[in-house]
Amino acid sequence: MRTIALRDALREALHEEMARDDSVFVIGEDVIAHGGPYTVTQGIADKWPDRIFETPIAEAGIVGLGVGAALAGMRPVVEIMYVDFITCAMDEVVNQAAKMRYMTGGQASVPIVIRLPCGPARLVAAQHSQIMESWFMHVPGLQVAAPSTPYDAKGLMKTAIRSPDPVAFFEYKALYVSEGGVPKEDYVIPFGKADIKREGEDATVVAIGGMVPRALEAGIALEDEGYDIEVVDPRTLAPLDMDTICDSVRRTGRAVVCEMDSSFAGSGAEIAAALAERCFHDLRAPIVRVGSPHVPMPFAEELVNVTVPDAGAVCGAVRKVMA
């Protein structure tokens, strides 16, 4: 299998889905010039000049138009340059896109994909570094994808575009250039199917998005200490595959839940709570959560380093559940 970067995998998914379905189109800021800041939309304007829309800086308008186009049967792929900016369009996401099917008694379908580049990268501080997955998990009617590998990114993006319901698609900026195997043939990854990224017997480490490579790194480091961890990547947070996560925890008897965002009321909190409800009697130690402290993302590297959890933080948590 060939190896490509995550951003190239996303670009391939977009090109293939646009070729497959005339109703797919792209809309967002700077999506033609340079193919967006992350080059994900590169090449689309050359092939489909009438199906890519470069917009004014108006996120509420961008998402609002996407919702309407989706209601009319199109499949918009919306790029929000930084997830932080989606706050300018939360009404369109929460009150319009997410609730429309329910409020209309099933008449409406809103097949919109909202691409949300997220997470710390290049020291851009508090307004360009958030993750915010839990905000979207909390809204009924939204699906939330957070791939950690090029393979997952492409397969989940294709599913997101074909889905009849809205998807908040989290792309960790720090992972855009990370490489991995991606087949040339068409494939999709269903939502709500977690993936065991590393098998192990001693403890289950549930890792979300950008924490997956860090958990895998921790897995290697912990081998020297004699700990064999299993790393489970939910891949989508809504729907959330608690069955696979619970199966793993029942086998290992220990659970660490890792997210890069603030762990207070975060995505990991839902997973930890569900584990406590469903696997309490299988647990041999209290669940430990790994995440950022509850602070906005700082600027200085010294401060970022003590905010964003790294492989060392995962190792520390595993030692805690093994003690």
């Binding site: 308008g61 609002g64 209601l71 209309t104 008449q107």
Partner: protein, 327 residues
């Protein structure tokens, strides 16, 4: 198409359908059959009917929290609307939406909207869909004067103008933003003047004057269908009832309301206008109202006979759970 006797009678009938539907809904509220709140359109009927008279079945309409009139004017079945207000499974939205989110996708009525200005972005988006598909479907977005203060109004008009999308923005300026007179919170009197910032035509018309709204809407819809871009229409109108149920209406005088009801009622004005032209006789007028009353009674009977939802219905319609992805 210019107004003729037949079309005028149809429009006039629709005005009565809206007026009496809402008066019945208010009555059913006092009887306890309709629950939740209602934002009535009484007094503003000329706007919805005059605009929708220019629309095809496949044109899109997006509304506000005050959208019974838009739905009826665009052809939503009244019995299903009444059933929705009653919270019955036969309702337009199967008892999931209620008055404030009423929608009928079979008529391309993509929904009332509980968020002020909430329909403007999506209504511009349906117009973008028309553009991409090279269809000549027009989108109409109704909103109140309060919406002109919100960001989505400005962003929506910007996109509509930038890409010359086939959309008509219809502002129903009833003078009050819930309990606050517009003059206390707005810096320009006419919302139509705001069109200049987006380089689109802005037209202000008397919203009680059916002929005036019909004329402005006809031009705007035709312009949109020709691919020449959006128009902003401001219809100056008035709501006869409070903002929603239980409004004490301390912000306006009884005399003011009486004056509008007496001398500025769009139904009375249009009736007189038709009678002047010999397009409507007294007997015919009575027959129209009787026919509408029978339709209203039928819709109430339909709602009353319809079953309420079952507890398990609460979990359906969140996502399309039947859908499965395949390579």
């Amino acid at each position: 198409m210019s107004l003729n006797a037949e079309l005028s009678r149809r429009i006039y009938t629709d005005m009565w359908r809206i007026r009496l539907f809402e008066e019945e809904a208010l009555r059913q509220t006092s009887l306890g059959s309709v629950k939740g709140t209602l934002h009535t359109y009484c007094g503003e009927e000329a706007v919805a009917v005059a605009v929708c008279a220019h629309l095809r079945d496949d044109d899109y309409v997006l509304g506000t929290h005050r959208s019974h009139g838009h739905c009826l004017a665009k052809g939503a079945p009244m019995d299903r609307m009444m059933a929705e207000l009653f919270g019955r499974t036969t309702g337009s939205c199967r008892a999931k939406g209620g008055s404030m989110h009423i929608a009928d996708f079979s008529r391309n009525i993509l929904g009332a909207n509980g968020i002020v200005a909430g329909g403007i972005g999506p209504g511009t988006g349906t117009a973008l869909a028309s553009r991409i598909r090279k269809s000549d479907q027009v989108s109409v977005v109704f909103f109140g004067d309060g919406a002109a203060a919100r960001g989505p109004f400005h962003e929506g008009l910007l996109f509509g103008s930038l890409w010359k999308l086939p959309v008509v923005y219809v502002c129903e300026n009833n003078g009050y933003q819930q309990w606050v007179p517009r003059r206390n919170v707005a810096v320009v009197d006419s919302v139509a003047d705001m069109a200049a910032s987006y380089a689109i035509p802005g037209v202000s018309v008397d919203g009680q004057d059916l002929e005036a709204v019909y004329g402005a809407a006809g031009e705007a819809v035709a312009r949109a269908r020709r691919g020449e871009g959006p128009t902003l229409i401001e219809a100056r109108t008035y709501r006869f009832h409070g903002h929603s149920l239980g409004d004490m209406e301390e912000y306006r005088s009884r005399e003011e309301v009486e004056e509008w009801r007496e001398n500025r009622d769009p139904i009375k004005l249009f009736s007189a206008w038709m009678k002047e032209r010999q397009w409507l006789g007294d007997e015919e007028d009575e027959a129209i109202q009787a026919e509408v009353k029978a339709e209203i009674a039928g819709s109430v009977a339909y709602a009353e006979e319809s079953p309420p939802p079952s507890p398990e219905d609460v979990m359906t319609d969140v996502l399309d759970t039947e859908w499965r992805v395949s390579a």
